[in-house]
């Protein structure tokens, strides 16, 4: 087991949780640093929401320990219920109390504190909802409801803030805007946060670090750049972004592939599949480099995506290039590698190479 830094706000050690025969969480250990936003990323059903609910105290773990701010809230002997954990949680569907106004919702976690009124006003100012105190949740837009949920969770000054797929109920158009807004609010509140999401773009833009989960287990943890540029597996690579794989022979820091000699991010030996992100490939019309045929294209304004088929093989590569050049489907082009690749042991049997 890895050593976890002690100054962390939340430490999970060997967390386990099963529902019936399903192992939802398998020995997950992770630490949330103070002031950090950690994105818990993975496909749906990977156990990330369960980890969140375990930390919040809404589920009782089968094993392992949870420490919040140096206080053990859950291990074999202790189990602090949710209402004693000082953990804020923003639900996927916001879970606003429909029978209470915005102000009552935000004040709900404040109990009989004397500064209730001021605190509610400050929270609504933070999320930019001044003047909507007396509205009921159903009178608000989706984005406004989300900010009420955020204000409500932040009002009691929780030790940590947990966000469960907070943007999945918003229109795509609204999502980016709200995401930037939430980022500002989290920074301003200076709170440590864990964000659960299945959207890698969301995880990369909001998470200081990303914890990638597959099948209930922690797969890789690191900065967004680490995960995108140095994925530990093909699966991680594919989950973090568009991926091209070409087979080749690695010799230390380079690999020889159908696209020529490719520099590797980490040295490797023998038969490998090399990951090449679409943006490390470039095209030219002069048919230098490896010959390929344009098989499709998609114009995106600032950029364009071009699919090319290597003449000799069936593999189709996805290339992200500037919007300037015009490519015709069926045109023969040259493909170049302009960046590093990441080598993974080949999935093909040795004798087929």
């Amino acid at each position: 087991m890895t050593e976890l830094p002690l100054e962390s706000t939340v430490i999970c050690r060997d967390l386990r949780k099963s529902f019936g025969a399903v192992q939802a969480v398998r020995n997950v250990s992770l630490a949330l640093r103070r002031g950090e936003c950690l994105a818990l990323l993975g496909p749906s059903g990977c156990g990330k929401t369960t980890v969140l609910r375990l930390i919040a105290g809404l589920e009782r773990p089968d094993g392992g320990a949870i420490v919040i701010n140096g206080r053990t809230v859950s291990d074999g002997r202790v189990f602090e219920p949710a209402h004693r954990r000082h953990v804020g949680l923003v639900f996927q569907d916001y879970a606003l109390f429909s029978h209470m106004t915005v102000a009552q919702n935000v004040a709900y976690g404040l109990g009989r504190r004397s500064d209730r009124r001021e605190r509610v006003a400050a929270m609504l100012a933070l999320v930019g909802l001044e003047g909507l105190e007396e509205r009921y949740p159903h009178e608000l837009s989706g984005g406004q409801q989300q900010r009420v949920a955020l204000a409500r969770a932040l009002a009691p000054q929780p030790d940590i803030l947990l966000l469960d797929e907070p943007f999945s109920n918003l229109d795509v158009a609204l999502r980016r805007q709200v995401r930037e807004e939430v980022q500002r609010i989290l920074r301003q509140a200076g709170v440590s946060a864990i964000l659960v999401t299945h959207d890698q773009e969301e995880a990369m833009s909001l998470g200081d670090r990303i914890a990638l989960m597959f099948d209930g287990a922690l797969h890789q943890i690191g900065t967004p750049r680490d995960l995108y540029e140095h994925p530990v597996s093909r699966r991680a690579a594919q989950f973090m972004g568009d991926s091209n794989f070409v087979s080749g022979q690695a010799q230390g820091s380079v690999a020889h592939t159908i696209l020529g000699t490719v520099a590797l991010a980490q040295p490797a030996q023998g038969a490998v599949d090399v990951l090449l992100r679409p943006e490390v490939l470039t095209l030219d019309g002069a048919e230098n480099g490896t010959r390929a045929i344009v098989s499709g294209q998609m114009y995106l304004g600032a950029r364009q995506v071009v699919w090319v088929k290597l003449a000799e093989e069936a593999a189709v590569l996805k290339v992200l290039c500037g919007a300037g050049a015009r490519w015709q489907t069926g045109q023969v082009v040259g493909v170049h590698v302009t960046g590093e690749g990441v080598a993974f042991p080949s999935t093909l049997p040795q004798d087929e190479l």
Binding site: A56, G57, L58, P81, A82, H83, R84, R85, H86, V87, G88, L89, F91, Q92, D93, A95, F97, S98, H99, Y108, G109, G111, Y136, H138, R152, A153, P156, L162
Partner: protein, 527 residues
């Protein structure tokens, strides 16, 4: 071949007179009440006797509503949210008392606790000469509470199940304990459902005739019935007051329903974990068992006791067969009429929606909102004034006739056929009808070959519901059935009035068994 548009106009022509027929009795009731001279009406309505009737009615309504909630809300919470043992079984058992007609329940209570009841018989050897009387407020209150609380139970269950569990979890993460969360979140979220159920009980109590009549408690319905032959003015005026009170309650129900639609939280997408009762488990089980014992086991046991008792003393079951046949015949006729009449109302409302057709559909619901005694009385007025002579032509001695009885049943229970029929027509995609028309079929053929077959299950459910409810109807039968035309309901009524408990037991058991069938429908809509 007829187009859909032409069909709609044609149907409107048929439906308008039908709606008028539904509205006629109540309209006439108001006309009859207005015929009373204003000074006399004022004197009648303000004299202490009348005010006492109003006071007693309101007292009973409030008392029964409160006690029904005290039973039903904990029971609903236990069966929905706790780890109560055998929850599913308790749910069914706690719902079943709904099918016991109030007068049957009252009969059972009298048969058990009355002055010649079972308890008295058992206590006689111990020197207990006379039990405190069950008649009056306490008897009526007990009977109505025991057999009306399931309305609150079902509605509270639905409310509790509709609460998004995330709301309670959000409350926990905001530092609120389980008890605080129950008080501030669960209960508040369920409140609209609880009050909707409580208002149904209030309506039930206000319009009930059987229990209060059996328990001899002088509230509106009993006085109207008793005064019918003596003081028609009073009966008419009291009926109008009763209808207005009912309308008031219905208005509140509508307001709550509307508010509920607005503030109700999103449908729950996962089931909350049941709350562990721990050492409270035995207490919870005892509570449910007590309610089921009083509201279900006791009545059935009492009826069985009297049945056996009667058979031992030479009563025969043969006496039941004629009333049973009459009950079946009258109910079947009413069900058939309602099934046929419901169709045009429903079609117009769904396929040709407009303020007019909406109003038509609403008018068809009016009968059910009215207490049975009022519907019966209205037809008595009409019949006495206009049908007496007519029937004399056919050699009948009074306005009472099977035809009038079936008509009154149909006016009162038409809405029960409308609900399921409307739901099933809503599920028939209009595109199906359009496709059939593009294939060259006239609209009538489309209706016969496409729409009606698809609506069949809804229609059958509605007709069955009317049939089962009509079997239980007491006051309309008492007021309008031809002389000597005893049905199961009137049989129970007269037998238990004359303290022939043994004679009432068999028809009562049959009624309970038959109406238990309607529970299948009720429990289906619960899930």
């Amino acid at each position: 071949m007829i187009s859909q548009r032409r069909f709609a106009w044609w149907l409107l022509g048929v439906t308008l007179p039908l709606a008028a027929l539904v509205l006629l009795p109540v309209g006439y009731l108001f006309v009859r009440a207005a015929e009373v001279a204003p000074e006399r009406a004022f004197t009648i309505l303000t004299r202490p006797g009348t005010l006492r009737i109003i006071g007693r009615s309101l007292l009973l309504v409030v008392a029964v509503s409160i006690s029904a909630c005290l039973i039903a809300v904990p029971a609903a919470w236990l069966t929905v949210r706790s780890d109560l043992k055998a929850r599913r079984l308790w749910t069914v058992l706690l719902t079943v008392p709904l099918v016991i007609p109030s007068y049957v329940g009252a009969f059972a209570l009298i048969g058990a606790l009355g002055q010649q009841g079972i308890l008295q018989r058992w206590l006689q050897p111990l020197g207990v000469e006379r039990l405190p009387s069950i008649y009056g407020f306490w008897g009526a209150w007990l009977a109505l509470t025991l057999f009306a609380y399931p309305y609150v139970f079902l509605s509270t269950r639905a409310g509790l199940r509709g609460i998004d569990p995330a709301l309670e979890e959000a409350s926990y993460t905001l530092g609120r304990s389980r008890l605080e969360t129950f008080w501030w979140i669960t209960l508040r979220q369920a409140l609209p459902s609880i009050s909707a159920g409580a208002l149904l009980v209030a309506l039930y109590t206000l319009s009930d005739f059987g229990a209060v009549a059996m328990m001899q408690y002088n509230v509106f319905t009993r006085v109207i019935y008793l005064r019918l032959s003596l003081d028609l003015d009073l009966a008419a005026l009291l009926s109008v007051v009763l209808v207005l009170l009912t309308a008031l309650l219905l208005g509140v129900v509508t307001l709550i329903e509307r508010g509920r639609g607005r503030t109700f939280s999103r449908r729950a997408h996962y089931r909350p974990r049941p709350v562990r009762l721990g050492r409270w488990q035995p207490l919870a089980l005892a509570f449910c068992a007590l309610v089921v014992t009083l509201a279900l086991v006791m009545p059935v046991a009492v009826m069985t006791y009297w049945l056996v008792n009667g058979l031992q003393q030479g009563e025969t079951l043969r006496d039941v067969s004629a009333p049973l046949q009459r009950s079946l015949r009258a109910s079947a006729l009413a069900a058939l009429v309602c099934g046929v009449v419901a169709l045009p109302f429903v079609w117009l409302q769904v396929r040709a929606p407009s303020p007019l057709t909406h109003l038509l559909a609403r008018s068809a619901y009016l009968g059910y909102a009215l207490p049975g005694v009022v519907v019966g009385l209205a037809f008595v007025f009409l019949g006495a004034r206009y049908l007496g002579d007519l029937n004399a032509l056919f050699g009948l001695d009074s306005y009472r006739s099977l035809g009038l009885l079936v008509l009154a049943y149909s006016v009162r229970f038409l809405s029960q056929a409308l609900g399921p029929a409307r739901a099933s027509l809503l599920q028939v995609n209009p595109h199906l009808e359009e496709v059939a028309q593009t294939l060259g079929r006239g609209y009538l053929t489309v209706l016969r070959t496409v729409t009606l077959p698809l609506m069949r299950s809804g229609l059958v459910a509605g007709v069955a519901l009317v049939f089962l409810t009509t079997m239980k109807e007491l006051p309309i039968t008492l007021l309008l059935a031809p002389t000597g035309y005893a049905t199961l309901a009137t049989r129970i009524w007269s037998a238990s009035n004359e303290a022939f408990y043994a004679r009432a037991a068999a028809p009562a058991l049959i009624l309970v068994l038959i109406s238990a069938l309607s529970l299948v429908y009720i429990l289906e809509s619960d899930d």
